[in-house]
């Protein structure tokens, strides 16, 4: 799922400093799971913002709403009446949700309240790690189900660099070397031959964001 972290409160206060009435919009999907922008976080941040502004002698009225998913037009529409009543929206959804609201409400400024960080996995309670960069052409079948694009600091395709030591990455000592993980897993699967094959230069320009906005069109689903 998409992972996010709440921005520092001072940064949030700065972005909405000229308004007196805002909507704080959470999202019931990914950011609820990683506890950065769900209903609970909306409630906590709303009181923190109210308190901070009261202390500064400029009270802030904060309305709260947490649609099921901010990134879907029909759920964004649910917010229309509330948005009419405020000067600005502070969104705790990922960057997609922020943009969906901005597209829906052309007359109302929408500010991000979280930094969208990565597509990741819950390693254990309270720890999440990046797993996918949505690069557009999955090679996980060649790398034992472990992605070197998302997990190797140099995005190497053909095995570990010289800095892989005792299973760890030289860039971040707490991080496992992705290629050590790949080696161990392919070894366990009896598929080490895959490590001998050269993975050729990637077609970034065709498959990735580097060729411009990516879009999926499914004729069978269009109305």
């Amino acid at each position: 799922m998409i992972k996010a972290e709440q921005k520092p409160i001072e940064e949030i206060l700065q972005s909405i400093k000229s308004y007196e009435k805002v909507l704080l919009a959470g999202c019931g999907a990914c950011v609820t799971v990683c506890q950065a922008g769900g209903e609970k976080e909306v409630e906590l941040l709303a009181s923190a913002l109210r308190m901070a502004r009261s202390k500064r002698g400029r009270p802030l009225e904060v309305m709260e709403a947490t649609p099921v998913r901010q990134c879907e037009p029909e759920f964004a529409t649910e917010l229309s009446e509330t948005v009419e009543k405020v000067e600005a929206v502070l969104s705790l959804a990922c960057g997609v949700g922020v943009q969906t609201l901005a597209r829906h409400f052309p007359k109302t400024p929408v500010f991000p309240g979280v930094n969208t960080t990565f597509l990741g996995e819950t390693v254990t309670h309270g720890i999440w790690e990046e797993r996918c960069q949505a690069c557009g052409n999955c090679i996980l079948e060649r790398t034992g189900g472990i992605c070197p694009i998302a997990r190797c600091a140099k995005q190497l395709f053909n095995g570990p660099c010289g800095g892989s030591s005792k299973g760890k990455c030289e860039i971040k000592k707490e991080a496992d070397c992705a290629w050590q993980l790949i080696y161990d897993r392919l070894n366990a699967l009896g598929q080490l031959y895959r490590m001998e094959e050269i993975i050729p230069a990637r077609r970034w320009g065709v498959e990735s964001r580097d060729s411009g906005l990516r879009r999926i069109v499914r004729e069978d689903l269009k109305v």
Binding site: A153, L156, G159, G162, S164, S165, I171, A201, R203
Partner: protein
């Protein structure tokens, strides 16, 4: 003959090659290059010119290598994939070969967060193995990577790469060399060797795969200046292993620097006896003045002259 460099000629003749290393200045001070060139000329067959090593901004390896040619020192131009995409890489190779550079070393490069521009965005459009393949395609097919487009002129390069027998997983390190050989590498230089047993074990795996007959292998050495340096490298540089007895020897020596040189000479002599080792790469980092003494003591002088 692929590029006709001095290094290539020496290796093709089966002579024991010696390469050195030169770090470009952190600026445009040409006198720094001249001083280092004077310390290396005649003692080695070619000199590696590092490409912003440890991600510290320095004069470009192409410009430095070109200046070395004017100073009558043969360069091995290092090129990393950290800072260039394939457009810049191929363009720079046109430029480098036009300037007369004949040897290059294909590297992924030290991660940018180690250097003095930690906020930059790294590139890694290719990795080092894909870079080798790219250069070979340019040289042997006469085309750009992934295209039929013919190159105007010839990109004649003797293609090198690095390999680190001290990185993990150890069992993969010979496979990695095999991949580089398949991608088209002509010679490799290893990370600096202190753990002789591990290096010999690696060389055995290399020979078992017949790689020593496909690729010229130059064993890397770095003289230790002091006990502090030995301890620091052992503790902090990933992919370098320094056994305790070597650290002890330098730490306990009355004159650690002299002991470091002596040790380096002994290492070269031991490496020379290993089947499949075709030369040594002496990385006397910011200690270039020792290269003459090391090569003299190791019996590597005079360097052969080949026309």
């Amino acid at each position: 003959m692929k590029a006709g460099s001095n290094l290539e000629k020496i290796l093709l003749k089966g002579l024991f090659a010696v390469t050195g290393e030169l770090g470009p200045p952190k600026g445009n001070e040409v006198s720094v290059i001249k001083r280092k060139a004077d310390l290396l000329r005649g003692y080695v067959d070619a000199v590696n010119v590092t490409d912003n090593q440890t991600a510290i901004v320095r004069m470009s390896s192409i410009a430095t290598a070109s200046l070395l040619l004017q100073m009558d020192v043969e360069p091995v131009m290092q090129m990393t994939t950290r800072d260039r995409n394939r457009i810049a890489i191929q363009s720079d190779l046109f430029g480098a070969t036009a300037l007369g550079i004949k040897n290059m070393l294909c590297l992924t490069g030290d991660h940018h967060t180690f250097g003095n521009q930690v906020d930059s965005k790294n590139v890694h459009d290719l990795d080092s193995i894909q870079l080798i393949d790219c250069v070979r395609t340019m040289r042997d097919q006469g085309t750009l990577l992934g295209g039929e487009e013919k190159i105007e002129g010839e990109v004649k390069l003797f293609i090198g790469a690095a390999e680190n027998p001290f990185g993990d997983p150890f069992e993969f390190r010979a496979i990695r060399l095999a991949k580089k050989a398949n991608a088209g590498v002509d010679f490799i230089q290893t990370q600096c060797i202190y753990d002789m047993k591990r290096f010999k074990d690696w060389m055995k795996m290399v020979r078992d795969r017949g790689l020593h007959e496909k690729v010229h292998i130059l064993a890397g050495v770095t003289p230790l200046k002091s006990g502090g340096m030995a301890r620091y490298m052992a503790k902090n540089v990933s992919g370098i292993i320094i056994p305790d007895e070597i650290i002890d020897r330098i730490v306990k020596a009355k004159k650690p620097a002299e002991e470091g040189i002596k040790l380096c000479v002994e290492q070269i002599q031991e490496l020379r006896e290993i089947e499949g080792v075709h030369g040594v790469h002496i990385m006397a980092i910011e200690w270039e003045q020792m290269t003459s003494q090391i090569t003299e003591m190791a019996g590597l002088l005079p360097r052969p002259k080949i026309d």
